[in-house]
Symmetry: D2
Subunit: 392 residues, 4 copies
């Protein structure tokens, strides 16, 4: 990717100026975003409103070397003042809990600022549609950080499906089943609950937003297909927990393919637990994020082929997604960085008056977010109706 | 196991005399049984009616060095004549298609001959219950060859569950999803169809009998639990096929645990595709038959432990199930042989006037068969009712 | 293999009558041989002199249902009396410690009885050459049970090398590095030492005979090449041990290829520890006995191919070596059984007046044994000379 | 690591100003360094002399947004002018071929600038010792980027060895055997040879500098032991190649432990090929960079334990080395970034008047470089003397 990065900087003439809402020092995901957008050297973090806790917010900005006058406490103010500057931020990263995503995003979009937003898109479908409307009105770039689509091997899987190498798809299976202590246990002091376990913030079916939408996006990204019907059954296993901590969503596709998604916080002993297996009538592919470098391709009547990130012979798109020779594990952060760097290229294209579409078509965006919300809503309906099948 | 085999032969004074119904040279499973019961040297095959095709039957018997007067064409005659001999067979192996299992088994049981029977138990629940009745009347030994329960590592998993090492069970997931050309394709000439793809022999939901009951037995064997409700959705993907070739069965247990079984003939690129994962609140275990030597034990907050067949420190039951030092792959046939050898010990116990229960409690039997039939019946009911949940 | 077995029995008219020298109940390897030759049903054990301990010997024979008049205490007597019978044994299995192999083998060969012999061939090169001479004089079949060459995947590796798929071979690396407690520790009571740890029986460099020759044979079997020079360095790590327990042997081949063999009893935590990796200028292959079902083929510029035992598309030789569909682990005993069954076919060919060569060419024999002795002798010379390079 | 980074920035008040010598756009390693030092946000690249090719050098600096007056063509000038500035670089990264390392490093050290240097340390031992001398005189920080010591799992291995969990070490085995097309083939046009294949630049035994020193450092890092004797045999397999492309180095340690290092450019089909296995009398550990997240710990008599980066229960040092929850692959660049970030902390400590030792003790430095040169020199001596054993 080095050459493209260089070309970007030559054309853009500077790094992209980035702001951040949320992602203070008490947030894991904020730090993850920062490592991801810093790695390729195409972004400078120059502004932020990092937390609803003013102390955390200010301290975070100071430490990140944000200038005092751009270290905001309120994102409305931030949007306004940045837009009024001669050197405003080009884009904002939203790393807040999901129930405020739409407010933040709409605020910045209306100020002409591109948005990079954590998933799930919003808390409600109404918010999602409102955000989509604003986006259409403003014509800004909107990237939803379904970060796993930045790994080289799911991208190779996507190429293989598109090329027909799997034949006609039949079964599409996916899991995002974690089970580490951080999600498998409720804290002794319930006031210490992470917001994702609070029904009033994340909803009872918040597990589908937190991890389910990642799996759902990933199989849609790889297969290019969206289910038309689903059935969901969800359970709460942990004592005193008030949200679902295990969810099975069964899927049907318009063309007759079927699928399943298993989302869990209580898959004890699992680590990250994100994977997919896709079966066609000619071959299948399997990918597990825990061993993200490998893609297993299994054709009928022939031995398994073990692709590895960085190998020769893949498309330019896949090849560019790996920075190193095969054998050097790319890892999670380079996958995430791919999303950022491709977003940079899209922003650069807009600035240069070119279409950002060549980059956006490979990046998760507003429609992915809306479809994710639709899946969550459908699952909630199905669950309420005794796991009956519902149309999406 | 060597010492126990020696002890058995010393006490029994000879090898067990075995007959076989079905399992002619045109049958893969017949040969598999023979390797399995020959390996430990506790059985002699001395009689058989190997095929409905008289030519195949006779040739098979001749080649297997069965004496001409015990190389039968009809299993009724075989049962009668054997029972009348001074040196009758002790037990019969039934390796026919399932729709004749009950007739054959009942015939031999009534002649006082122990039965080792292929799965699924029967074609219909009615047959299953009739067979169970006969068994209770005759007091003979009946072993159902759910052969995968003979592998050392599922047995270790069973010990771990029973010991409480997994804590309270929550999710019980299993697959028997094959996809080799032999099951993934229909033959050009439909008259060449294997009986398992003939609806009139195996039933439309025959896939559940063929592979589904193996997975179902295995998780019941390991967890000691039987589901109380299920929902099934089954598909037929292959053109011109008249039976289901993919089946998802979702399960609920009386204590709130949930589970899934995926059975398939069209998991293209999969090989054998039998596996289970069991999650408790303290740990989980995973086993895949394709890498049958290993059991992965994953406790909360601690690193994964990779058990291997033959290692020190397991129970006498598990330890005896592996013949070799760890690192020497035991393989499928030794698992199958475990079932036969334990059956021999049970037969020896009966002959010696002792209870065979210490052996039978670890062997799949009539109740496992009936519960398997119940699962198939339940799945058929659910499928007919739009995948609704049904009580078992 | 079922069809060939049937054909063999039809032609031979009966099972092969087998005798055994050594392999009593206090021997692991004896039981392993018995499972291996029983599995396919082509052999009957009808005679034996199972131990130098008369009590063990007799009890073993009785339990194995050997007739009293063929349950010998002395192998000379056994050879003579068997040869004089109308129904003599066709072949004898030698499962004694190596220092008596040549005496036993020569005794039976001279009586016209085929020999199946444990490795290493003999204790000394002199014995080895004397045995070779006798074999040439008698024209009997001699199979050395380097059992790992019976696994399907090393046989596929052999095909791949022969086909040129690896290109010109460069590096040939092999290991047989065990580390279980059984070999890693000396017993508290030294009189309980297994003979393999007694310098007076196995020699100080006995490790090379015990495990080194297996690795050496395997790479010779797969590559079809024999080294011309070696350098050895051997260590004794365990307190009070009087033989080497770790050995590195570096190799050079006449065509410029190089290699290494690592043999160990103290590779703590390793299980069986047998593996090879062979690198050519076009591709490499890797096989590990612990995961014996797989062969990893790695071509330059292309992704790794993961062959699995039983898959389609291999030669008739490889295909016949796997009894089951891919995914059903064949395991150690089926590999060992392959050697026995192919030996049966060779014996059948001799009896029918045909050449046994089509079978013998794939079976380890006298020349492999002599070359193994040569390697041991060379390593001892090198070690004495400060690990200098010596010519074989 | 987030908290420590924040603390660093709070104390240091700004990012560390970094210069770079070498690492232009025609260099893979330059880009790798940049991603690594950018990721955690503790460094700003503000100056450089990126290439001996003036055009490449200037273009690289421009694109990397280096100010024109700090975009140098000559590193002597760069050192002088930087030292004279009020805002000089704090440290310089040396990413040139090894034969100029010492000149560059000495130049900057004499100007009071810390040095972060690619391996191998230098081209000759004389250069190495001269550099060491300068370093002692100047008291600056010197970090040698043996980047693999930044991975969490080798660090856990180091803890395990130090804790005695492996017992007394016996065998220490390591490999850095690559075989991708980039190193396995000579270019058609020999003038296009990478410098590492030019004997006049890298030496005939340059392979030991390029990859051998990485393996050598890694096992020294993990075991805390340095060999006292070695024997080397090196080959050149590729036509027209003038340097060794395969090297075996056998090692002896003062305490009786033994070891081997295999370095290769022609391990066809291997990818990165860096690994180690260390055997003690109580347990062994294995690590492979290609699956860098895992460390396999294998105790005697107990099942294997599979550690994964990010898991609970490790030391603060290991825990800090992983940024994410287990299951999120850290990857190569985070390992490399660990070295940079710990270097930042060391530089911060110096600036604050504290000892940098707590950081430096875990970072590869000048002594590691000198010992690596000593190994190369020893191997060259051994090779010249027919692979005889030489003292280090």
């Amino acid at each position: 990717m080095a050459n493209e990065n260089a070309q970007f900087l030559r054309l853009f003439g500077r790094r992209i100026r980035l702001g951040m809402v949320g992602g203070g020092f008490d947030s894991i995901i904020g730090e993850t975003h920062r490592i991801a957008f810093q790695a390729d050297g195409l972004f400078d973090l120059v502004a932020g409103a990092f937390s609803v806790n003013a102390e955390v917010s200010t301290a975070t900005g100071k430490t990140l070397l944000v200038a005092d006058d751009r270290n905001y406490l309120d994102y409305h103010e931030m949007a306004e003042l940045e837009a009024a500057r001669p050197d405003p931020i080009d884009a904002v990263v939203i790393a807040t809990p999901p129930h405020v995503h739409s407010d933040v995003a709409i605020t910045f979009l209306k100020c002409g600022i591109h948005v990079i937003c954590e998933k799930p898109l919003t808390r409600t479908m109404e918010q999602a549609l409102q955000l989509k409307k604003t986006l259409e009105d403003t014509g800004r770039i909107f990237v939803l950080t379904h970060c796993y689509s930045g790994f080289p091997m799911p991208r190779l899987a996507r190429d293989l499906v598109a090329s027909g190498a799997l034949g006609r798809l039949r079964m599409i299976d996916s899991e995002f089943a974690s089970g580490g202590a951080g999600v498998a246990l409720e804290p002794d002091d319930l006031s210490q609950r992470h917001w994702r376990f609070r029904p009033e913030i994340a909803g009872r079916e918040g597990i589908l937003g937190e991890v389910g939408t990642h799996a759902y996006h990933l199989i849609r990204y790889v297969t290019g297909r969206t289910p038309s019907r689903l059935s969901a059954r969800m359970q709460t296993f942990v004592d005193r927990r008030e949200v679902f901590d295990n969810a099975y969503v069964d899927l049907e596709y318009p063309d007759g393919a079927v699928g399943r998604i298993w989302s869990s916080y209580v898959a004890t002993g699992n680590q990250h637990g994100l994977s997919f297996r896709i079966f066609g009538d000619k071959a299948s592919v399997e990918w597990r994020e825990e061993d993200a470098e490998y893609l297993r391709f299994r054709p009928l009547r022939e031995p398994e082929v073990l692709y590895r990130a960085g190998q020769e012979g893949t498309s330019e798109f896949v090849s560019r997604s790996a920075r190193f020779r095969p054998g050097h594990p790319e890892g999670y952060i380079m996958a995430f960085a791919n999303l950022y760097t491709e977003t940079a290229f899209a922003i650069g294209a807009v600035k240069a008056g070119r279409s950002p579409e060549p980059w956006l078509k490979n990046l998760p965006g507003i429609d992915d977010g809306v479809l994710g919300m639709q899946m969550i809503e459908g699952a909630a309906r199905s669950q309420s109706a005794g796991s009956s099948w519902v149309t999406l």
